[in-house]
Amino acid sequence: MNPDIIKYKTGEKILLKGNEAFAEGTVRAGCRFFAGYPITPQNEIPEYLSWRLFEVGGTFIQAESEVSAINMIYGAASCGARALTSSSGPGISLKQEGISYIASAELPFLYANVMRGGPGLGNIAPCQSDYFQATRGGGHGDYRIIVLAPDSAYEMGNFPKLAYDTAEKYRNPCMILADGLIGQMMEPLEFNFDFVDVEKIPSKDYVVGNCKGREMRVINTLHMSTDILEKHNWDLYRKYEKIKAEFTLFEEKYTDDADIIIVAYGTAARISMAAIMKGREQGIKIGLLRPITLWPFPEKIISQLAQKVGKVLAVEMNTGQLVEDVQMAVNGKAEVYFYGRPGGNIPTGDEILGVAKDALKMKNVEPGKINVLNKL
Amino acid sequence: MKVEITIDESLCKACAYCIEACPKKNLEFASNINKSGYHPVKVKDKSKCTGCGMCYQVCPEIAIIVENES
């Protein structure tokens, strides 16, 4: 490997937008193929990669559509390359067809959804409207995607390595679910992993091309026999159960003495931290459970905390999606509250502190039922 | 010149392309029925086959093998 292509030293402090940090992080993690289609608020990713991949001898293609881009990824991943695409809500919807095929073919690749407001064309402001789409597979058929939710430029930059390694370990697509704020915000970060030498990534025994001396290989998602497809579905199920058991990430803050736990991810989690710190100054004890993997969902820890604390507040930038997973994890054992700001609006720390105080005051609340704290 | 023509009658679906293509009109349907339910094509007179391979070219089933040593 030519050392000139290593742009930043490991641990070196740099200043980048979240989208740029992510783009650099993917190249650093071994990505050498990008295909995508412009859409706000993720355009810094293809723009950055258009010159950066050129520098490292990779391929950048601006495709004619998201549909085409994801199928270019299918081809590149079929050959074993660390492939990448990125988009935002409407574009991810178009990519779902291809993602379903790649999930069925069990090929690893990475994609990012830098979420914007929806449904429809919505707007280009930060939003968390695609949680359901991300965590339930998103496309047709019965499959799951590993979903990582960064809350900073640091995580945008460093998650790609974790994402590629995990995707390849389980032969499953992996996505980064960010939002317009995480993508657009510029902040200091450093890379915590060394630049990956792509020559040293082990070759995979399922990729196509160069069939010399072996049986021909077929990458296929068509299984006309119902028995064969059922077996394939159960094989995938067993893989997903294994991922659930082995790869659930979350961050806990101030949960030891908390009277209420906020569950939030990404931008909502960051702002919730501001509310928690301000609350602590006023003697109000709020804790935070931040899921880092949205699928698999950290249901065990949420269940434990809910039973200990008794009150759980989900804060989201939508009208309530993650809160349904929280409700399932709580399983009727604690009070469940929800506060949401959809449409591209972002809650303030004071707003969140206010609703947390409201929730703390509420009595005789039916456990397990979702109590919406927005004044509608 | 040695010519050998072999028809795998189990593969034949009786489209008649080879009968049409044969410049010597040396192919015809057999009276028997193959396992797929078709009257397969057979060679009328092997000694008349010139080994041109036209029947092979048009056969969708690759049921005809022609060897031509000239």
Partner: protein, 248 residues
């Protein structure tokens, strides 16, 4: 000199499940022969479409990928950019290529991607039961044109080769047919040339093959070949539409 006409090594031993008189298997065999003659089997990847030829991955004796309807040129692009030494061909019908996959086709052609598309134009959707294709002839009856295709309601057939030849990206575009021996031989020549150009890294090529679909058209195989001659070829003239290898 010994000439042997037999099943090429490029094809697997699996028996092809096509209807009597179908043009697909003739073209499969031609591709198989081409793979043999160019000695490229070990580095070839076949891209299977959605349509009657969806099981193509069972019929070729090389690595293959089955892809979503119409997306073959995008998948081929991904493969060739990651591994330019591989030989990639996509095999697509008229619905796959000229309806749902039009964008992928045109843009891979204009980028001049170095792979080969074999386009089977039989003017109908065979696998789904004989519905209208983008290339269905005016007046032709299909299961979704019970009164015959009326261009006023259903538009005109698309001449893919002519359309692509207007682009600067492609290097070689030819339309052939497999309705009779002489046309089969010309198809072989065209397909072999297209693969040869890919081996030489010359760029994008497409061979459009007019093929009979006796079942979909509801006529006998021989009548279907006649239909190609009398109805299709006048609308879709055979010949070379672009050949940059001829340009000095």
């Amino acid at each position: 000199m010994k000439r042997v006409y037999k099943r090429p090594e490029g094809l697997s031993k699996t028996i092809m499940r096509y209807c009597p008189g179908c043009g697909h298997s003739i073209v499969h065999r031609i591709i198989g022969e081409t793979i043999d003659e160019l000695g490229i089997r070990e580095k070839t990847i076949a891209i299977a479409p959605v349509g009657c030829s969806v099981f193509l991955y069972e019929y070729f004796n090389c690595d293959s990928i089955q892809v979503a309807h119409g997306r073959a040129p995008a998948v081929s692009t991904g493969i060739k950019r990651v591994n330019p030494e591989l030989i990639v061909f996509s095999y697509q019908g008229d619905g796959d290529l000229a309806a749902i996959g039009t964008a992928e086709l045109i843009h891979s052609a204009t980028r001049g991607e170095n792979f080969t598309i074999i386009f089977i134009n039989n003017a109908i959707y065979g696998m789904t039961g004989g519905q209208q294709a983008p290339t269905t002839m005016p007046g032709q009856k299909t299961t979704t044109n019970p009164y015959g295709r009326d261009p006023k309601l259903a538009g005109y057939p698309i001449r893919v080769s002519e359309m692509l030849a207007t682009l600067d990206g492609p290097v070689y575009i030819e339309r052939t047919a497999v309705n009779k021996a002489v046309n089969v031989l010309k198809t072989k020549k065209a397909i072999k040339k297209a693969f040869q150009l890919q081996v030489e890294k010359k760029g994008f090529s497409l061979i459009e093959v007019l093929a009979p679909c006796p079942t979909g058209w509801g006529i006998s195989p021989l009548k279907a070949c006649e239909y190609v001659d009398k109805v299709m070829i006048p609308y879709y003239p055979l010949g070379v539409y672009k050949d940059l290898t001829q340009v000095k």
